[in-house]
Amino acid sequence: MNKKTLLLIITISLITLLGGFLRFYKITVNPPSLTGDEISFGYSAYSVLKTGRDEYGKFLPLVFKSVGDYKNPLPAYLMIPSIKLFGLTDFAVRFPNALIGTISIPVFFIFLLDIFKKKKVAVLGSLMLSVSAWHIFYSRFAYETLTASLFVLLGIWFFIKMLDGKLIWAFLSAFFFTLTMYTAFAPRLFIPIFLVCALIINLPKLKKDWRKAGVFISTCLILGLPMLYITLFQGAGTRLQMVLISNDIEFSRYVLLKYFNSIGDLPLLFFFWAKRYLSYFDPSFIFFNGLDATIPSSIGLGMLYVFEIPFFIAGIVAFIKNKIPHKSLFVIWGLAGILPDSLTNNLKHTGRLLHLFPVLILLSALGAIELYNLFTKIGKTYLKMIVASVSSLIVLAVLIHAFLIVSTDFPRDKGESFDEGWREAVQYVKANQDKYKEIVFDPARGVSAPNMISNPFLYVLFYMKYDPHIYQTEEKVTSMPSYESYYKFGKYVFRHIDWQQDKSEIGVLFVGSPWSLPEKDLEPGELIKKIYLTSGDAAFFIVSPK
């Protein structure tokens, strides 16, 4: 090993360590609480680990029914070793994603080095990924699209290698592409579109050796068949139907002026979709507040840092004017990558665009190198000093702002979105439940309004480490007259709390937001504990009638 190679290995190791530190440091307290999805994946994984079945008793499922949203299987299965190792804890749930986020850094480095054969691009690209607020943010909680983004990267990388290399790459590429489909919803539409375009463009190369195309397509089909089956017959397609763009409120209310119901409405739907698709190129979304980590419409964090704007623009120019290997594949990657999210009626979401990180960061790295080359051409030393100092100050200021957002503003502004408070509430109940004959949880919560946003029974299962054997087999009550939603297992009941009626229930412990347990209506001594959000607002009151 020569000196240069050793230096390169040390550099990339340090970059990976930095990335790992930024992804793992205080991972259980920031984000402030496990989300509903994390809890669901965590308990499903725990249930499979202990019994081989999910909480509904289904043996090694290929789709997790969860709370009716039919979750992808891989995130839960990836959590199993972690839960085996660390127990059913917040850390165990978040560990796999943080690890995958960290591993993505050296993988991205090797990918860039392999494709571009330029150390500068590879080192700078991996450094930018290592400190990317976008990538760090989604690495710090169990977010399946981040895992999928690594598989997409590997799939495309091996696809490129397949074009000029051995047959094994065809199998590996197909394997990772298919794995992506079992991991997250967003890439399910992206992968087929990417593959169709990529195969057509590279048809002349593939014609030389049809075996590659054969192995690739047959592997995709064989591994993808179960996914096709569960999508069509086991409810995994339900989610897609729910979120289609034709159900968008803005479209029906302000564009079509009625609900979408006929083929004649398609032209306007097409142009509405085009508007949504192009809105992903909005600089505010990319650079200023796409991450939605703090209050809306303020200067927060985007997919790239603000100081990357000149890099990004220069990167696009460099991408256009320079010879880039497999340029067309990168273009398809970038343009088709937006498609899945643009076809939904949800708000634009940077999380569902994570499979685009290699393209965006590559453009930024190319631009940075281009600008650095311009910088080196500055003849006068004092001018060089001024440019270097001003640039460094801007980068520093932006990074400090990012640090402040992630460490202080995000937990304060988004605690409620992360279901903050349930952990503390359930842990209190766990320590004191023997004193009560029944424990009632109100699923409605919220600071500004009581919204039905939580799945408290999953928090109870998770933090109580409820035995999956018992949960799968015991009798559960799923409805009750006079309650709109009702669920009961063991001594735990999940229903709306009406304090005027419930205050006579002696020996019952109630956990609810101040909306259902107004402090002014409580008698002295009834309020046992208050649980607060990081913002200081009350999340839950724990109350027992006297």
């Binding site: 209310r253 302000y254 508007k275 209050i295 303020s298 200067i299 704007i309 256009i320 932006v398």
Partner: protein, 360 residues
């Protein structure tokens, strides 16, 4: 069609304490004027037999029509910016006499009409000279003439400073939104509470935030969603785009080709000055003001379209050309049908059925 804009008093009238609104102008004639000027500009840029392309693109773009029918003040200013652009092109090509006439006439009226343009035009001329788009020698006569013609206005401004200020504040509202300052206070408060007061003072102060906000606004003016989709609604309610979506394909290709040429890159960069009036508006993007940038976009589209046409023997170029034409014709039909069927209802949905034009 939907005349709901309250008119804006002209600068010189404001300084004289009079009321002169451009809304009384024969607005229907503006499109004809634009098309003529656009044809003249195109003649200088493109080959003779292809001059009709930019004019045609301009003709089928809803942007101009909507603003002209709504008596937008910026349509009037647009009719002055086009002669200036044409004049600059003439000066570059050596036609001093007509070049100076167009530049001086356009600039003179624009500066007397708007406080923003009173500042914007001298700055633009300076930048054009510094960046060598036009040499100082070529611009000399225009600058001298303009200076003489603007002297009375300068005198009026000095005499009636407060009227100028009020007109200027009306036109430059970029930092008038208290939301940005509130968010700075909020960020600083949270950081101080967490013990990071000094860090917040370095990175979350109004200078940095204003600079970032300005940068973000500047970039937002030129992205495809702004120019080719109804992301920012024409007249505040329409679903029709400023420029038809199909033209995005030749725009992308034209831009791709132009960016490869260093000289074209420089001119494109300078031409982004035309987005500044929109950047200085209160809204993130003001389509009323951004119309000034419309000629640049149409020229890029035309360049891309001409490239497709000239390379039509190449399969890819032919496919793109056909795709563009299909999309444009299809959207044109949709737009015309939509105007007839839904636009009035949309107007009512946004502004209410009993909306009345408030005369100033």
């Amino acid at each position: 069609m939907f005349p709901h804009y309250s008119a804006q008093n002209l600068l010189f009238a404001e300084l004289l304490h009079k009321l002169v609104y451009i809304k009384d102008a024969p607005y229907i004639l503006f499109p004809l004027l634009f098309l003529t000027l656009f044809w003249l500009i195109s003649k200088k840029i493109f080959k003779k037999n292809l001059v009709y392309i930019p004019v045609l693109i301009f003709l089928v773009s809803p942007w101009m029509w909507y603003l002209a029918f709504a008596y937008s003040f910026y349509i009037f200013l647009f009719s002055l910016v086009l002669p200036i652009v044409y004049g600059v092109i003439l000066l570059r090509s050596g036609d001093k006499a007509f070049g100076n006439i167009f530049v001086v006439l356009g600039s003179f009226i624009a500066m007397y009409s708007s406080s923003l343009f009173f500042i914007f035009i001298p700055i633009s001329i300076t930048i054009m000279v510094i960046s060598k788009v036009v040499s100082l020698k070529q611009f000399k006569t225009s600058i001298v003439l303009l200076f003489i013609l603007v002297l009375p206005l300068l005198f009026l401004i000095v005499k009636n400073n407060s009227a100028f200020k009020s007109n200027f504040v009306y036109e430059v509202q970029i930092f008038s939104d208290p939301g940005l300052l509130n968010s700075i206070n909020r960020y600083q408060g949270a950081a101080t509470e967490a013990g990071f007061k000094n860090l917040a003072r370095i990175s979350e102060n109004k200078y940095i935030f204003y600079a970032e906000y300005f940068l973000g606004k500047y970039a937002s003016q030129m992205v495809p969603e702004t120019l080719f989709t109804p992301q920012y609604k024409l007249l505040g309610f329409s679903f029709n785009p400023p420029i038809l979506l199909g033209f995005l394909i030749p725009f992308g290709y034209g831009l791709y080709k132009l960016l490869q040429n260093p000289k074209a890159r420089r001119i494109l960069l300078i031409s982004t000055l035309l987005v500044i009036p929109s950047v200085l508006a209160k809204d993130l993007v003001s389509l009323n003001r951004l119309i000034l940038f419309c000629p640049v976009v149409i020229i890029v589209i035309s360049y891309g379209l001409i490239q497709f046409y000239e390379n039509r023997k190449n399969n890819t170029a032919r496919i793109f050309l056909i795709l563009t034409l299909i999309l444009v014709i299809f959207q044109l039909i949709v737009v015309l049908a939509d105007i007839k069927v839904r636009e009035t209802q949309r107007f009512d949905a946004y502004f209410g059925k009993n909306y009345e034009l408030i005369e100033p």
